[in-house]
């Protein structure tokens, strides 16, 4: 993807010299920067925050129109549009407005709740739903930063869920031992599954997208198979579902039994901090970013690209595996065929929306969690189809994947447009992108 960057290649001596000092070099010749244009990948994966907000906003507007158009009351009113045009507009407006209000009430705060517990419940739901997305989003973001498209988070989540689920069902230890053990199970499962992709890519040069998609299939069917063997299947049941997890194997609930929010969320916060440290403060992270920015340059600088791929895929898989552990022992409390839902694919959106930065991914996961949690009350209280919520999410990705579109709509400046006045700033920015 980034092999066609002759300009960036010239940066490598600086990179090489700086390999042990993660701060990027300050004075790069400016004519270098002018010829440099970040790859499409870099532009999609590393857009600025205005772009993310703009994309979300544009998606909300288009989504609102969609809600209005698909609303039966609006459709009825539109049949006599010319007799009473305001009816159509009012019906459309109220459909969109009600839906978004329900979305907020279902994801943050519900003033109509019977008591405070019920009122605050939506926020805890958002955090609960966001937990696996934070892990998986970090997994994808990390691989993005190393220049790899890890589409395999889905499979890595499933493997993490299988191993942590097996540990949870079979090790009858007290909860204080179980929780780390289950998390470790998730890490091991995901790291193995991701590591296989890394090894295959490093050794054979096979493309990681194809590898990871195929590994997803294997994982999904492996789970179905295992759930029908005595190893995992519930005793006395012929359905593909495991025994319910015992009390000792469940993540402690953070806010008491009324809420589903569990300790996995705290682990997710730690993971955000860890990935931030890894990428920004550690030597390993610096090497990974160098590989991601330009593998040829990294190789010239003495970094082993092959081992970089293996390490990043194993790390990425480990993070995704943690999402599986959080699903099994935190949210679902049972291992079933749909344990990973579409988390692995949502994670790609989350990572893109979060601009592949740890903190950005965290907030993107929260937004996504809010969508999921709010989507429920949106369809129950206003009858808006759940598909509309999914369309909203898809629209966000669409707008992010087409940055010029959002820039044109919101008149955002183009960072690659070589602005005359900000030469110095764009210079450091370009280096940032390379590093």
């Amino acid at each position: 993807m980034s092999d066609k960057q002759p300009a960036a290649q010239q940066v490598d001596p600086a990179l090489a010299a700086d390999i042990n000092a993660p701060t990027p070099p300050q004075d790069v010749p400016s004519q270098l920067v002018e010829t440099q244009k970040p790859s499409l990948f870099a532009r999609i994966a590393g857009g600025n925050i205005g772009l993310s907000i703009g994309a979300a906003l544009a998606a909300f507007i288009v989504g609102g129109l969609l809600i209005a158009v698909t609303d039966p009351a609006t459709q009825t009113a539109s049949k006599y549009f010319f007799a009473r045009p305001l009816d159509t507009l009012a019906a459309g407006w109220s459909a969109a407005y009600d839906s978004y209000v329900a979305l907020l009430q279902g994801s943050i705060f519900n003033p109509n709740g019977r008591n405070f517990t019920q009122q605050i419940r939506p926020l805890t739901e958002t955090l609960t739903v966001a937990t696996p997305l934070i892990f998986a989003g970090l997994a994808v973001a990390l691989s993005f930063r190393a220049g790899l498209f890890n589409i395999g988070a889905q499979g890595q989540i499933i493997l993490g869920a299988i191993i942590s689920g097996w540990v949870a069902l079979n090790a009858g230890l007290p909860v204080i031992v179980m929780v780390p053990l289950i998390l470790l199970g998730g890490i091991v499962g995901g790291a193995i599954w991701g590591g296989i992709i890394g090894v295959l890519k490093a050794r054979t040069g096979a493309h990681e997208v194809i590898l990871s998609i195929m590994m997803n299939y294997i994982a999904a069917n492996l789970l179905v198979y295992l759930l029908k063997t005595p190893l995992l299947q519930r005793e006395g049941s012929s359905n593909p579902i495991s025994e319910k997890l015992g009390e000792n194997a469940l993540f402690p609930l953070l806010l008491g039994p009324q809420f589903r929010l569990h300790a996995g969320f705290l682990a997710a916060l730690l993971a955000v901090a860890f990935v931030w440290w890894l990428l920004n403060r550690s030597t390993v992270g610096f090497r990974l970013r160098a590989v991601g920015a330009n593998p040829n340059a990294a190789r010239t600088a003495g970094i082993s690209v092959a081992s970089g791929y293996i390490v990043v895929m194993a790390l990425s898989g480990a993070l995704a595996g943690l999402a599986g552990a959080a699903q099994v022992a935190g949210t679902e409390k049972v291992l079933s065929t749909g344990i990973a839902a579409s988390l692995g694919f949502d994670a790609i959106t989350v990572a893109l929306l979060g601009r592949s930065k740890p903190v950005g991914t965290f907030f993107a996961a929260l937004l996504y969690g809010a969508f999921r949690a709010g989507g429920v009350s949106m369809q129950v209280s206003t009858g808006t189809d759940i598909d509309i919520v999914l369309v909203l999410q898809a629209l966000i990705v669409l707008f992010i994947a087409a940055p010029p579109l959002v820039r044109a709509i919101f008149r955002l400046p183009d960072p690659t447009g070589a602005p005359r006045t900000k030469k110095k700033k764009s210079a450091s920015k370009a280096v940032e992108a390379a590093a």
Binding site: Y80, F81, N221, S238, N239, P240, S336, L343, V376, I386
Partner: protein, 365 residues
């Protein structure tokens, strides 16, 4: 150029606008003052499994049951579709928040969640379709001994087959799926015993409990491929047990019949009467194995409204008409009176217990 791009565009937009004008020309309705008909505070709710309400299968059928109660008894209704198993708990919680009197949950996948939430809300009623594992005072399981009707379908399929080969396949290997296939295979076997025939079943082996599955309930192209394989192997009656995947079978059989008008194949539909739900394929649907979830649900809601909720399981059988064989419709003239009489006899024998249809997935009271 006579037709510049601009020209075409303006013609197009003109057409569009006139369409809008025409569409918007209806008369405004009078402001209606009050809602008509009987109304009640009763709130009936339904949560789908990950298949969604448009699955042409048990979710859709169950949804029809609640919808029917809405039009019939004027109840209020709330619905939540799940797109994944992770949606079950939030969806069901939302129904509790909404204060639903009775919530229908569709599919064994929702069993754990239903149980948990029913335990926490003993004052609310629940009913779960296709699962019989919950024993609580406020949960009514609704299950079906579909094998009984599938047995009849297997018999008639064997009788109608010219090639001596019939086939079935499933979406995923769930007990609620294999029960159809088991019944079907046993019906064929029974036909062979009675008529000293040798009709072969492709796609399912009752003894080894193994067969052909597409792996999901979504991808109709897999259903089409499977069906083409069966047709190539000489099968001429095919029963897909895979929800919307079955539409691939309809397509494949229709194409096959177009190129082989002398030896047409036919389809046995499941869950609903396929003749009514697949208008384009009425000529190839021999019959359907009906699983009347809608009736069972409407009845459960009615009972609950009248204060007669019971947690006793509803088991749909041939006897209580919870399962059954659909009419032959277009095939009515092709099925002999002899076969029809035999089917009636089979029904009586199954009800009386003379014929025992026993499968791994059969519900037990």
């Amino acid at each position: 150029m006579a037709f510049s791009r601009k020209h075409i565009a303006s013609t197009g937009s003109l057409l569009g606008i006139s369409a809008l004008l025409l569409a918007g020309c209806g008369a405004a309705p009078e402001e209606s003052s009050s809602a008509s008909g009987e109304s009640t505070d009763y709130l009936g709710c339904i949560v789908s499994d990950f298949g969604g309400f448009q699955d042409k299968s048990f979710n859709q059928n169950s949804y029809a049951g609640v919808k029917h109660a809405k039009t019939e008894f004027g109840i209020n209704m709330k619905e939540a579709q799940s797109t994944a198993e992770t949606d079950y708990a939030p969806n069901l919680n939302e129904m509790v928040q909404a204060g639903c009197n009775l919530t229908v949950t569709v599919g064994f996948g929702l069993a754990d969640t239903t149980k948990e939430i029913a335990e926490a809300n003993p004052d609310l009623h629940f009913t779960i379709v296709d699962d019989n594992s919950i024993e609580l005072d406020n949960v009514r399981p609704i299950v079906f001994d579909t094998a009984q009707a599938a047995f009849q379908a297997g018999y008639v399929a064997a009788a109608q087959s010219k090639t001596g080969k019939v086939a079935t396949y499933g979406g995923m290997e769930f007990p609620t799926v294999t029960i159809f296939m088991d019944g079907f295979a046993q019906g064929v076997e029974y036909y062979n015993e009675q008529k000293n025939a040798d009709v072969e079943v492709l796609g399912w082996n009752s003894d080894s409990q193994s067969g052909t599955f597409t792996g999901d309930f979504e991808d109709a192209t897999k259903g089409k491929t499977n069906t083409q394989n069966f047709l190539d192997q000489g099968a001429d009656v095919i029963m897909p047990v895979a929800g919307p995947v079955g539409s691939g079978t309809l397509e494949a059989v229709k194409e096959y019949n177009a190129s082989n008008p002398d030896s047409p194949a036919s389809v046995v539909w499941v869950d609903a009467d396929g003749f009514e739900t697949n208008a384009d394929y009425q000529d190839i649907i021999l019959t359907s194995v009906m699983k009347k979830m809608d009736d069972a649900i409407t009845e459960t809601i009615k009972a609950d409204m009248d204060g007669n909720f019971t947690s006793e399981a509803y088991i749909g059988t041939l006897e209580n008409d919870g399962v059954g064989l659909a009419p032959f419709h277009n095939f009515d003239s092709e099925v002999t009176d002899e076969t029809k009489a035999e089917l009636n006899q089979i029904k009586e024998d199954i009800i009386s217990g003379t014929i025992k249809v026993e499968t791994a997935g059969s519900p037990t009271a």
